[in-house]
């Protein structure tokens, strides 16, 4: 703290004649190039899509509440599972992390803004266009895509399965891909070029590190997905046969290409959560992160491994024995760096002086429940066992544990952690705690029974099921409805905090000694529209080696 030069833009307005606030009126939000405005746009858009995708999940859980046909036709059910996944992945979780990156990276590295502010604006609006295009397919003849978010051919190419939606969905994927790639380029350019001169790479907060690594993953794999769906497009409309055996192609080729994208993609949604958890836990444990360097290396190792394990999604497609064994071993290795992360968070908490405000509660729940998802992931990495688990509710339980009480909980934690800084208002801690306890209980009621269902033999993506699966489905649905309803509390808290919250004026640090951990807490609360117009002269060193 003492090392930070206290020279923020509000201190030198006099000589800063080109310093200006936001544009007037609603047009501000359309034309803005300010990283904070764009971060806000991303976050609000992601929150909206969280509720849209959540509504789809409610349709799914309502139909599965009891065996038999209740509400929706099987094809519409398939559209719901497909769209729920696409909306949550590309509309909610990824944009939310880009929003966090937009707000936090410049603040944390002492940069005035993102390196490429106009491209920043463009990547947000392209995201909106892509998601709206995707959503429009819901109203098309033949309905929205219903071949699963993996879009496996030949199913998605079949005239009896998909109507007019396919080319729109593919174009939407292209737009989302371009948006993500632009976002990633921007983040990389910002981190490499805009850091305060005092900040070396190994001084960067872990959130910045994890996003840097994530951005490289995005640049590497989004074009692969774009290529895969383009091949679907040409197979459908231009008589190519990439995935059609009758023309010399192979449907399994698509699965390889998809998962070469898909596996890094799931890490794109989890690596930034590692960064956020590694930021929040030390603050509330009042202790430095246990192993900063090993956390950086573990993140990089996980990112590298994510490129060489894709066929563990395909153990049952008919891989040769050598393939089964290789992908099994490679996947098992991921447990090592992931273990390092979990041990590190635990060691960070050990002998701290912990307090349990809402961000910390969500972060602890993240560590525990993500680890549960990791355990089932390890179980699934065992190829012979996966011959039983594959495509059952066990898998659904696994990846929802890594996405909902992991990615989504950390996004909630980040919201509670940084909203007071961004708005200058404190959220209502009581409602925050209520939101946490409702969420953490209901999310387990929702997803834990799905392990039992999968092991007992219930396949995923079915709208109706044998009666022996009835009880756990009903319990899971009840959990789902409570979880869904509880999230309205979060919406309330976000709106309430923006509009003044508890009325308590927060300090610049917000959280006790937070400024020891990261630069943004040395800035005034609420944050001025422009920050770090002069870079900080030195940076917090608490999270790095003592010898530094």
């Amino acid at each position: 703290m003492s090392a930070v030069v206290d020279e923020h833009d509000h201190d030198h307005h006099a000589d800063d004649h080109h310093d200006h606030g936001p544009a007037k009126g609603l047009l501000r939000w359309v034309i803005t190039t300010n990283h904070k405005d764009i971060g806000t746009l991303y976050l609000l858009f992601a929150l909206t899509m969280f509720f849209v995708g959540g509504a789809m999940a409610m349709v799914i859980r309502a139909e599965l509440f009891e065996p038999g046909l209740q509400f929706v036709d099987p094809a519409f059910f398939n559209s719901m599972t497909t769209m729920h996944a696409l909306v949550m992945v590309f509309g909610a979780v990824m944009p939310a992390f880009v929003g966090l990156a937009n707000w936090q990276i410049p603040l944390m590295i002492g940069a005035a803004d993102m390196a490429l502010p106009r491209m920043n604006n463009m990547s947000f609006w392209m995201l909106v266009a892509g998601v709206l295009l995707l959503a429009s397919t819901l109203f098309m003849e033949g309905g929205a895509p219903n071949g699963g978010w993996t879009l496996y051919p030949p199913l998605v190419l079949q005239p009896i399965t998909v109507g007019k939606a396919l080319p729109f969905a593919i174009f939407s994927v292209h737009l989302l891909g371009i948006s993500s790639i632009m976002g990633a380029i921007n983040i990389i350019a910002t981190i490499f070029n805009m850091r305060a001169p005092a900040m070396k790479l190994m001084d960067m907060p872990l959130f910045v590190w994890t996003w840097l690594i994530t951005a490289f993953l995005l640049i590497a794999v989004m074009p692969v997905f774009a290529g895969a769906v383009t091949m679907l497009l040409t197979d459908k409309f231009f008589h190519t046969s990439f995935f059609n055996a009758a023309g010399g192609g192979d449907p399994v080729l698509y699965e390889h290409i998809f998962w070469f994208f898909g596996h890094p993609e799931v890490y794109i949604m989890i690596l930034p959560t590692f960064g956020v958890a590694s930021t929040i836990i030390p603050v509330f444990a009042r202790k430095p992160l246990f192993g900063y360097a090993s956390m950086v290396w573990a993140t990089a190792s996980i990112a590298f491994l994510s490129f060489i394990v894709w066929a563990h999604h395909m153990f049952t497609v008919g891989l040769p024995l050598a393939g089964e064994l290789y992908f099994m071993y490679a996947t098992m290795i991921i447990a090592v760096p992931t273990g390092v992360k979990v041990f590190n968070w635990t060691a960070t908490m050990w002998k701290g002086a912990m307090t349990f405000e809402t961000p910390m509660l969500f972060s602890i729940a993240f560590v525990v429940l993500f680890t549960l998802g990791g355990f089932t992931g390890l179980m699934m990495s065992i190829a012979p066992s996966d011959f039983q688990y594959h495509d059952t509710y066990f898998i659904v339980a696994h990846f929802h544990y890594t996405l909902v009480p992991a990615s989504v909980f950390i996004l909630m934690a980040a919201g509670y952690f940084w909203l007071p800084k961004w708005t200058g208002h404190m959220y209502n801690e009581k409602i925050g705690q209520l939101h946490f306890w409702l969420s953490v209980i209901s999310v387990n009621v929702l997803f834990f029974p799905q392990h039992f269902l999968g092991l007992a033999g219930m396949p995923r993506r079915i709208p109706d099921y044998a009666v022996q699966f009835a009880d756990w489905n009903m319990i899971s649905s009840v959990g789902g409805f409570i979880f869904g309803a509880s999230q309205l509390l979060f919406l309330y808290i976000v709106i309430d905090t923006i509009r003044g919250g508890t009325g308590e004026k927060v300090s610049d640090e917000v959280w006790e000694d937070a400024s020891k951990h990261s630069l943004e807490w040395t800035l005034p609360s609420p944050l001025p529209y422009h920050t770090w117009t002069t870079p900080p002269v030195s940076v917090p060193t608490e999270h790095v080696l003592d010898s530094h």
């Binding site: 009891e66 038999g68 046909l69 209740q70 036709d73 099987p74 094809a75 398939n78 098309m140 003849e141 033949g142 309905g143 009896i160 399965t161 007019k164 055996a245 449907p251 399994v252 444990a285 009042r286 202790k287 246990f290 192993g291 900063y292 049952t316 008919g318 024995l321 089964e324 064994l325 099994m328 071993y329 098992m332 090592v336 273990g339 390092v340 979990v342 041990f343 050990w350 701290g352 680890t371 355990f375 179980m379 065992i382 012979p384 066992s385 039983q388 039992f452 092991l455 007992a456 396949p459 995923r460 993506r461 109706d464 099921y465 044998a466 009666v467 009880d471 009903m474 319990i475 003592d546």
Partner: protein, 360 residues
């Protein structure tokens, strides 16, 4: 929790089932081994974490230590998990080798996935049949408010189960005619994808006679949830008798004698439920934008000869129905033309729809 507990739980389980083959038992053991290792690690890690959460609180006046970075600790918690993983990989590799060894089989069955049923071809004898969801489940799952608990083995029953002998190594070759399906019977211990245009191999050796049920596990379109698998494993004698009986039945010519209108309509409905309902729906209304309605359709209600030709030829969307016999054609066409909201008023007898070579 009390809400749904009145149901019958024939196969109610929380854990993976052990199954009835050596491989499925080996997989069960692997599953349990890794589960217990995870539970153990979980207890250690979460135990430490929760101890810390309860004791290292600011509210209890605990003062934060400031230690961090310890290379020895880091090395220990990298090496121990690695060793545990090696311990897991050894039995996993053994089981994987076993699973993939399709050599020296006693017989081979070709499994073909279709939207939305399976067909089984015994390559060592001349047996070949389709296996569809049973009619009772078919009616209930398509009707809003119908009670699934009224149907025994709801959605897990078929009209013709696959029959195999016990104590024989049965090799399966799996493929598909349309999209990717996946053939899974949990009691056998594995699933395997059926890919269109390619052949996958798998095998089983069942120790215990019995009826084993499973389902398609790769999303294959609107009726993915409605193409179950039933395998009956029999003692060799019973199996031989079944083979003889089935071969005899296959040789029988369809009965082309005239039927009453009621009979034609009732039989026609069964043919419809088996072959048409997946796309054209239970009320014949099709799916807007994807699948044409039969209700009021010019082809369905036009000259029966052209409908007959249309069914046999198929279209780019619809498979050829050459597989149906004259009896089934007569029943189906009578049903489609005089039900599902259509009222052509005719009835077709098997003799009318028979092709010249059907008469022999």
């Amino acid at each position: 929790m009390a809400l749904g507990l009145g149901t019958a739980h024939a196969d109610y389980t929380l854990n993976l089932m052990k199954g009835v083959t050596k491989v499925s038992n080996d997989i069960y053991d692997l599953h349990m081994l890794i589960l217990w290792i995870c539970v153990f690690i979980g207890i250690v890690v979460f135990g430490a974490m929760f101890y810390s959460i309860f004791h290292h609180r600011k509210s209890k006046g605990h003062v934060a230590a400031q230690f961090h970075e310890n290379t020895t600790v880091e090395i220990i918690w990298t090496i121990i998990p690695t060793l545990i993983l090696v311990g897991m990989a050894i039995p996993a590799t053994k089981t994987m080798l076993e699973l993939s060894d399709v050599e020296k089989s006693d017989m081979t069955i070709q499994v073909t996935g279709h939207q939305w049923y399976w067909d089984y071809k015994y390559l060592d004898s001349d047996i070949h049949f389709e296996s569809h969801l049973d009619e009772a489940s078919e009616r209930v799952h398509r009707t809003v408010g119908a009670d699934p608990r009224s149907v025994p083995n709801y959605l897990l029953n078929v009209d013709k189960p696959l029959v195999i002998p016990v104590h024989k190594k049965v090799r399966f070759v799996l493929t598909s005619t349309d999209v990717i399906h996946s053939w899974w019977v949990p009691d056998l211990g594995w699933k395997k994808d059926a890919n269109p245009g390619f052949i996958n191999e798998a095998w089983t050796l069942v120790d215990k006679p019995g009826t084993y049920r499973g389902q398609c596990t790769e999303l294959c379109g609107r009726d993915h949830g409605f193409m179950p698998i039933v395998v009956i494993a029999m003692e060799q004698v019973d199996y031989d008798a079944w083979i003889a009986k089935t071969l005899e039945q296959q040789k029988q010519k369809p009965d082309l004698s005239d039927q009453s209108r009621q009979q034609l309509l009732a039989h026609g409905e069964s043919v419809y439920l088996k072959n048409c309902v997946g796309c054209h729906q239970i009320d014949g209304t099709g799916v807007p934008g994807l699948i044409p309605a039969l209700t009021g359709s010019a082809i369905a209600t036009g000259k029966w000869e052209s409908l007959d030709g249309f069914l046999r030829a198929g279209t780019s969307k619809m498979p050829k129905f050459e597989k149906l016999n004259a009896k089934e054609f007569a029943e189906l066409m009578t049903y489609v033309r005089n039900s599902l909201g259509n009222k052509v008023g005719d009835e077709l007898q098997p003799k009318q729809t028979a092709l010249p070579d059907d008469d022999e």
